[in-house]
């Protein structure tokens, strides 16, 4: 399957294992619940990713962030907005530097907002044109406020000239 990663279309190398399914070779993601239950065995593997639902609390995961190379945030609908805050807090407050991925009802018009909140890979909905979605990042170049990017509050930027 193709995904957008760092603004390029790439093949997804991860396998996403449901709760109760056996683990497979190679990089896998599991739910937060499974991670918390099987942390000891899972952390012995190489690349491990954890999937977060919108209502999941980040607190439970904070101590483990260094062991996790991918966090997948779920957006069950375009109207779901909690993942933006999750991503931003992971980046700016908790210093997470691994990959953060958006999955679910993810399309063109959410991407630049998601990117600004620190999400760097995107599973664009299958029935949507992934190349078309790539165009989203440059649509609005002006950013008035800081998020998880390097932006400066517009009023500071004007003062700095």
């Amino acid at each position: 399957m193709q995904i957008i990663r760092n603004q390029r279309v790439e093949e997804d190398t991860w396998q996403h294992v449901s709760d109760g399914e056996p683990l497979v070779e190679g990089p896998v993601t599991v739910s937060l619940k499974r991670w918390l239950e099987e942390r000891d065995t899972l952390s012995a593997r190489g690349d491990i990713g954890v999937r977060l639902a919108p209502a999941d609390e980040l607190d439970e995961l904070l101590a483990d962030l260094a062991q996790i190379s991918l966090l997948v945030l779920e957006f069950p609908a375009i109207t779901e907005g909690r993942g933006y805050t999750q991503a931003r807090l992971l980046r700016t407050r908790h210093g997470y530097s691994g990959e953060i991925r958006a999955t679910g009802d993810v399309q063109h018009d959410q991407l630049s907002f998601m990117q600004r909140c620190g999400i760097d890979s995107f599973v664009v909905r299958e029935d949507r044109d992934i190349d078309d979605a790539l165009q989203a990042f440059g649509e609005v170049s002006v950013r008035y406020q800081p998020a998880a990017d390097d932006e400066t509050l517009i009023f500071h930027r004007r003062e700095q000239g």
Binding site: T79, Y84, R93, R128, V140, V142, I154
Partner: protein
């Protein structure tokens, strides 16, 4: 007023191009109706009963003559020759074609206007006291902070999909004319213990189907922390606000279910962690923004006051207009003039393209080229020299915008109702006409004194009926239109929700019922007592008895 720089202009231009792309993808079948709906709402584009409806932002109700001319041009070119001013100080057009909307946006962008975030579950147009900067009872002009909030909230990446819409209102005056206690966040400029001006912060107010008066979350907030604190409130709301039921998703429901103490604790804890994240304002930045709202070049008073007095003595109908439709100005020699968009026979808040052009010219001649829209759906020329009032009045009369009815029963707030709105349960415009017809005697209206009538065609309460001294709520009963009457509400410092006086009455009987209420008020009132104060003193029981006497 605020002027765009290159950043602002680029953002608005790019947003137009982005919208064009969204329309194209929709027409190409790459965005479903529902997906396109979610996106177009973020640019103020609704689909209503008969056609698209396009809502344009008038940030904190302030705009220029040039911008008004553009609105007139758009009304003429892309609509049916009129526009409607809303209770969020915005303007909406009821008949644009989808393929024209991007063109309208382009025309707006040329005069530094846009429709960004006039709908959708985002931070909406920030509203303010319509007399900001000129009111005698003002501590400080709220508009610089409104503009700071506008920019911070525009395309905010974290808060672009909130549980529900989010409204912020700001005032700097002693009398709350911006209904800040009925906002998701209300901000009042106040003096702190050290004498410095900061904000008192209210949260969780709102109307709609669950009306709630906002609570104080913070007695005093330093100005430099305006954005850090508001962002902390939004972040808590974005995480915890309900998303399972649209009717329970506003912040007021969250604040009510947690209780203000617990909600405050959560916000303060979040704020501790995030207040240094780069949103703190410097004094220089605030002063720079204040510079955009510096007073115009007022002339010394001269003998305008004496001249005005003579003119009023010579012309009673001019005198009546001055008395009813103007307010004191903080600068000697000037008055605030209110343009009544409540002429009998015209839908409240509606202006034709010719009226828009005409009033833009009058603002140019008599009020430094600036206009304001009010949440009570009138317009204001804020800086009129006393000696110019008569000429302004003549001009307004010619435009049929000089009805001397501000503050009276006929100066009612009214949503578009069943004639235009897909959500409405009852029509409002014919009820307004019915009331105007019944109460056409101005002297009678003046005798009744201040009386705020607010009417909504459904429980979403766009017409603010909960906070009317007299409130009217349209309901549907087995396919026919009925109205519930509430009494005793207020949107001001004494904010309160009106109480229902009894079962709904048929739409044809609304004006008659109001008449019964008013007759009883005149019997019951004490010397100089306002309608709402009488209702508070006597309770609603006597009114209920009178209205339902014949129909128990």
């Amino acid at each position: 007023m605020y002027r765009y720089d290159n950043y602002d202009q680029t953002l608005v231009n790019e947003r137009v191009a982005q919208f064009r792309g969204q329309v194209r993808r929709h027409l190409d079948g790459k965005l479903s109706d529902e997906e396109f709906r979610q996106l177009r709402l973020r640019n103020g584009l609704y689909y209503q009963l008969h056609a698209y409806m396009f809502r344009i932002a008038v940030p904190y109700g302030l705009f220029s003559s040039r911008q008004m001319h553009t609105l007139a041009h758009c009304a003429r070119t892309y609509d049916r020759g009129y526009g409607h001013f809303t209770t969020r100080q915005n303007i909406q057009f009821n008949w644009p074609e989808l393929e024209d909307v991007a063109k309208i946006m382009e025309e707006l962008a040329k005069v530094q206007m846009h429709a960004i975030q006039t709908s959708g579950n985002v931070v909406r147009n920030v509203t303010a006291d319509q007399y900001a900067g000129v009111a005698a009872d003002e501590l400080e002009d709220p508009r610089p902070y409104c503009e700071i909030l506008r920019q911070w909230s525009t395309l905010h990446p974290e808060f672009c999909w909130l549980p529900r819409k989010f409204k912020i209102g700001v005032t700097g005056a002693a009398e709350d004319r911006a209904a800040i206690r009925l906002h998701d966040i209300g901000l009042e400029l106040v003096s702190g213990e050290n004498g410095e001006v900061g904000f008192k912060v209210f949260v969780g107010g709102g109307m709609g189907r669950t009306p709630i008066v906002g609570k104080v979350i913070r007695e005093y907030l330093e100005k430099r922390h305006l954005l850090t604190y508001v962002e902390a409130v939004l972040r808590v709301y974005n995480q915890l606000g309900r998303r399972d039921d649209n009717n329970k998703a506003r912040i007021k429901i969250l604040v009510r279910s947690l209780g203000i103490k617990r909600f405050r604790k959560l916000v303060e804890a979040e704020w501790e962690l995030s207040r240094d994240d780069g949103l703190e304002l410097t004094t220089t930045e605030i002063e720079r923004m204040q510079g955009f709202f510096a007073p115009p070049d007022y002339q010394a008073a001269g003998n305008g006051a004496a001249e005005l007095e003579q003119q009023m003595a010579a012309d009673p109908s001019f005198a009546r207009w001055v008395k009813r439709n103007t307010r004191p100005h903080k600068v000697a020699g000037y008055r605030i003039a209110i343009v009544s968009v409540k002429a009998p026979g015209a839908p409240p808040g509606d202006l034709t393209d010719a009226q828009m052009d005409g009033i833009a010219d009058l603002a140019e001649r008599f009020s430094f080229g600036e206009l304001r829209s009010t949440h009570e759906q009138n317009l204001v020329l804020a800086d009129v020299a006393e000696g110019s009032l008569q000429a302004l009045w003549e001009g307004l009369k010619a435009l049929e915008l000089a009805t001397p009815n501000i503050g009276t029963l006929n100066d009612m707030i009214c949503c578009p109702g069943l004639d235009f709105c897909a959500l409405a349960k009852a029509s409002t415009i014919p009820v307004a006409a019915q009331i105007n017809e019944k109460f056409s005697d101005l002297d009678y209206l003046y005798d009744l004194g201040e009386l705020k009538l607010k009417m909504s065609g459904c429980m979403n309460a766009c017409g603010h009926h909960h906070v009317g001294h007299l409130g009217l709520l349209g309901v549907d009963k087995k396919g026919s239109e009925w109205y519930q009457i509430t009494m005793g509400g207020s949107a001001g410092n004494d904010a309160a929700l009106g109480r229902r006086i009894g079962p709904a009455i048929p739409i044809d009987g609304v004006a008659d019922a109001i008449e019964k209420i008013l007759v009883l008020y005149v019997e019951l009132r004490e010397e100089g007592e306002r309608f709402v104060d009488t209702v508070r003193r006597t309770g609603i029981a006597p009114f209920k008895e009178r209205v339902y006497a014949d129909h128990p």
